[in-house]
């Protein structure tokens, strides 16, 4: 039955499918949509998913451009940056006598801050979870749409609003917030602390509160849809790992983002109402402020209670996507399906009890650090289970080395190289040396930044046909992959050495430090690769947008010969996803090369004596 034709497939769903009376409600015009309700205020999860993706892409370009600019400062501190003055205006200070333009130090900090904020929240949270949870949850569990399509739309528009506010803050005369993506007080609590701490920070807070609302609304829908709207036969243990990961991510997000909101409300009170939750004994320009009794560490606890789970909110969906894409393209069942789910759960749970590893040198009780070190290092165990299972899945597989699969492999290597360093830093004694150095930057960019991007790319190349009924260009995809992989290692590998040598992160210039001067060439090297990496991503964007209209057309409903339900829907997406009945599920998602069959889709009934669960 492996070569079941499309035609037979439809018959199967219609004969054996589950009639939820969906189409009885069609009365002609009711589903006629106009431009506004189709493309803008859409409530269709497939459209919302594209909105998240494209908005995420916009922010990725902005965030990456920021990094290129501050890398220019770090790599070529002597060169003139007067040529970007038309873009950055007064943030490039040109020395009238020499004509040499320099990045204003305040703006350097603003760029670093915005780079982090935008990429962590807008690109890797909204752009990743928002895109794929929306696209895949209903399609892969066999639902017509999300539990509340309206709330789903709101979720996108809160995200959009958050983006507009943040974008606006880039253009105000005092500049955007410049105190780091973690927004520690007092820099974030006192408007007079730096130029970005005034209006810039106010906008930053409003924007991120909108963002929290967006994440919570989205998460409510993802959780409810997975728990309540699965089609007949789709038991939890038959769900693809992608859905499992989105589901667990949504739970983590729902439990931790509100905590961040609490911290933000307290910060707002400190800024505007005169409370002193986070402020104590502060001198500004030699003057003591009358704000006493607060504790900046309290903010750090609230922030990192979200902040650490947040990094897993970013990586878990990527892990789910990678597991799913990998199984399809190695034509083998994923190794240790249940272990994969349990490790997702363990990681999710443990991620909520390790937050203080970001605070080892903040003055927390060193005995407390023991506890956090222990669990931090322990989290390497479920992480290794996942890596082990991916490697075992690859072993002996019939690997198709196409672009989605390459990015999947790339993800695994990056996750290993970046994850290993975490175990070093998790040890609070070692971390005293490494904290706030480039070692941290290397760690989290490999394990989270680039790895999550790779997961996202794997997902985009793999599900592009589902989104736009066309394929992306393979050659460009491969250039994109190899180029980006090389650049990623060229940029972040050397940073481990910088970090171990003690080079601090977030510094504007190292000229005046005798100890770091000889790293000038290494910094130049990194910057050159960062620029190349940036342009390679433009290649991806060109491929993406070109393929939407001109890519190779999809002629087969299931081009990858995949097992999951999204590939039983028609090539041209329809409202309600399935034109007739809903498919009924008989087996798990990973029946590849079973018996003598190359693949068996989830809605194919069991043969006599066959087992459908694992």
């Amino acid at each position: 039955m492996a070569n079941i034709s499309i035609h037979e497939d439809d018959i199967l769903i219609n004969e054996q499918g589950f009639n939820d009376h969906f189409h009885e409600h069609h009365h002609g015009d009711k589903y006629k949509t106009n431009f506004l309700s189709h493309y803008v205020f859409s409530t269709d999860h497939k459209m919302i998913s594209k909105q998240f993706l494209i908005t995420g892409m916009f922010w990725a370009v902005v965030g990456a451009a920021f990094s290129v600019i501050f890398r220019l400062q770090l790599g070529f501190p002597e060169e003139s940056l007067a040529w970007i003055k038309p873009l950055l205006g007064k943030w490039i200070v040109v020395d009238p006598s020499t004509g040499i333009g320099k990045l204003a130090p305040e703006f350097y900090y603003a760029l670093v801050t915005m780079h982090g904020t935008v990429i962590v929240f807008f690109v890797l949270t909204a752009g990743l979870s928002g895109t794929f949870s929306n696209l895949l949850i209903p399609l892969q569990v066999g639902a017509r749409d999300m539990a509340s399509p309206f709330m789903n739309m709101l979720s996108y528009w809160f995200f959009f609003t958050a983006g507009v506010i943040m974008f606006y803050s880039l253009f105000i005369s005092t500049g955007p917030f410049a105190g780091g993506w973690v927004a520690y007080p007092p820099l974030s609590a006192l408007p007079q602390a730096s130029s970005g701490s005034g209006t810039g920070m106010t906008l930053w807070l409003i924007s991120l509160i909108c963002f929290v609302i967006s994440v919570v609304l989205g998460g409510i829908n993802y959780i409810t849809t997975v728990l309540n709207l699965r089609t007949k036969g789709m038991t939890m243990w038959r769900m693809p790992l992608s859905v499992w990961s989105f589901f667990i991510t949504a739970i983590v997000g729902l439990l931790t983002f509100p905590v961040l909101a609490s911290g933000f409300f307290m910060l707002i009170a400190d800024r505007s109402l005169g409370t002193s939750f986070f402020l104590s004994d502060i001198f500004i320009a030699g003057q003591a402020l009358d704000r006493v009794g607060g504790s900046p560490i309290l903010y750090q606890h609230l922030f990192w209670f979200l902040g650490h789970p947040e990094v897993y909110i970013i990586i878990l969906p990527a892990m789910g996507i990678v597991s799913e894409v990998m199984s399809v393209h190695v034509r083998k069942p994923i190794f240790g399906y249940r272990a994969m789910v349990y490790s997702l759960m363990t990681i999710a749970f443990m991620s909520c009890i390790v937050w203080a590893h970001h605070m080892f040198v903040s003055g927390i009780n060193p005995f407390l650090s023991n506890f956090f070190s222990f669990f931090t290092i322990l989290i390497a165990v479920p992480s290794s289970v996942k890596v082990f299972n991916w490697l075992t899945t690859l072993y002996g597989g019939n690997i198709r080395l196409n672009t989605p699969m390459l990015f999947t492999l790339g993800f695994v290597t990056l996750f290993i190289s970046g994850g290993l360093t975490g175990v070093f830093m998790g040890n609070h004694v070692l971390d005293i040396q490494m904290h706030d150095t480039y070692f941290i930057v290397a760690h989290f960019h490999l394990v989270m930044g680039v790895a999550a991007f790779f997961g996202m790319f794997a997902g985009v190349y793999h599900w592009f046909p589902k989104m736009y009924s066309r394929f992306m260009n393979e050659t460009l995809g491969k250039i994109h992959f190899w180029g980006t992989l090389i650049c990623a290692y060229a940029i972040f590998w050397p940073q481990h050495y910088l970090g171990l040598a003690g080079v601090p992160r977030r510094y504007y210039s190292f000229d005046s430090f005798e100890a770091f001067k000889h790293f000038a060439d290494m910094n130049k090297f990194i910057t050159i690769f960062a620029i190349i990496a940036f342009f390679l991503q433009l290649l991806f964007l060109i491929n993406f947008f070109y393929s939407i209209w001109h890519g190779k057309k999809m002629t087969n409903k299931n081009p990858w010969k995949s097992n999951t339900l999204e590939w039983t829907t028609p090539i041209e997406p329809t409202h309600g996803n399935w034109p007739g009945n809903l498919p009924v599920v008989h087996r798990w998602a990973y029946d590849y090369n079973k018996d003598d069959r190359e693949y068996v889709m989830q809605h194919i009934p069991l043969k006599d004596g066959e087992v459908g669960d694992h």
């Binding site: 539990a147 998460g219 609230l302």
Partner: protein
């Protein structure tokens, strides 16, 4: 787009479930605030003060409003139209009284000298109760819509209206219980 979701007998309605998930999120926000409160308090330099009586009355008011709304919902389902409308109205009045009492409670507290700029204990009190009132206001908005429907539409028990009313009442019970928790917390951990 409600048609997308079909009620499956024996299963909780997806929208009701979604509401509960949302409540869990809100609960986490207050859990964070109360944890921060405990941490800050145990660090010392903490001012103790006793609450103006308004807060006791407001507590009674919101608890009673929950009972009234529950009665109204039962009456709605069992066909007692006048009971449904009356108790809905009473619930709404008691709920609004809660907000008003909180407001006067704050001004009384302020007059006692507990202000935002002083000790963090005051700041926490205003912030926690204030954020709670914002959530109550959301409930009041929902109650207003429910009342507009109740008094303008013809009385009829339909699945859809029952569900909506159920959702509103559920949310209201939630902010009620949340308040009782917060109030006891603030009383005990001074």
């Amino acid at each position: 787009m409600e048609h997308v979701i079909r009620f499956q007998p024996g299963k909780i309605h997806p929208q009701k479930f979604a509401l509960w998930v949302g409540m869990a999120g809100i609960a986490m926000m207050f859990a964070a605030l109360t944890s921060a409160y405990v941490v800050k308090q145990s660090a010392g330099n903490w001012l103790e003060f006793s609450f103006p009586n308004h807060f006791y009355f407001s507590t009674i008011s919101i608890v009673l409003s929950s009972f009234a709304l529950h009665k109204s919902f039962v009456d709605y389902k069992t066909g007692n139209e006048s009971g449904y409308k009356w108790f809905l109205f009473i619930g709404f009045i008691l709920g609004s009284a809660f907000v008003v009492l909180q407001y006067f409670g704050w001004t009384a507290l302020y007059a006692m000298g507990v202000d935002l700029k002083g000790n963090a204990s005051g700041g926490f009190f205003y912030l926690i109760t204030g954020l709670h009132v914002i959530h109550v206001l959301g409930g009041i908005a929902a109650l207003i819509v429910t009342m507009l429907n109740a008094f303008s539409l013809k009385y009829k028990v339909t699945e859809k209206r029952k569900l909506r009313f159920d959702l509103v009442v559920n949310y209201w019970h939630f902010v009620d219980i949340l308040w009782v928790y917060l109030f006891i917390f603030l009383l005990v951990i001074k």
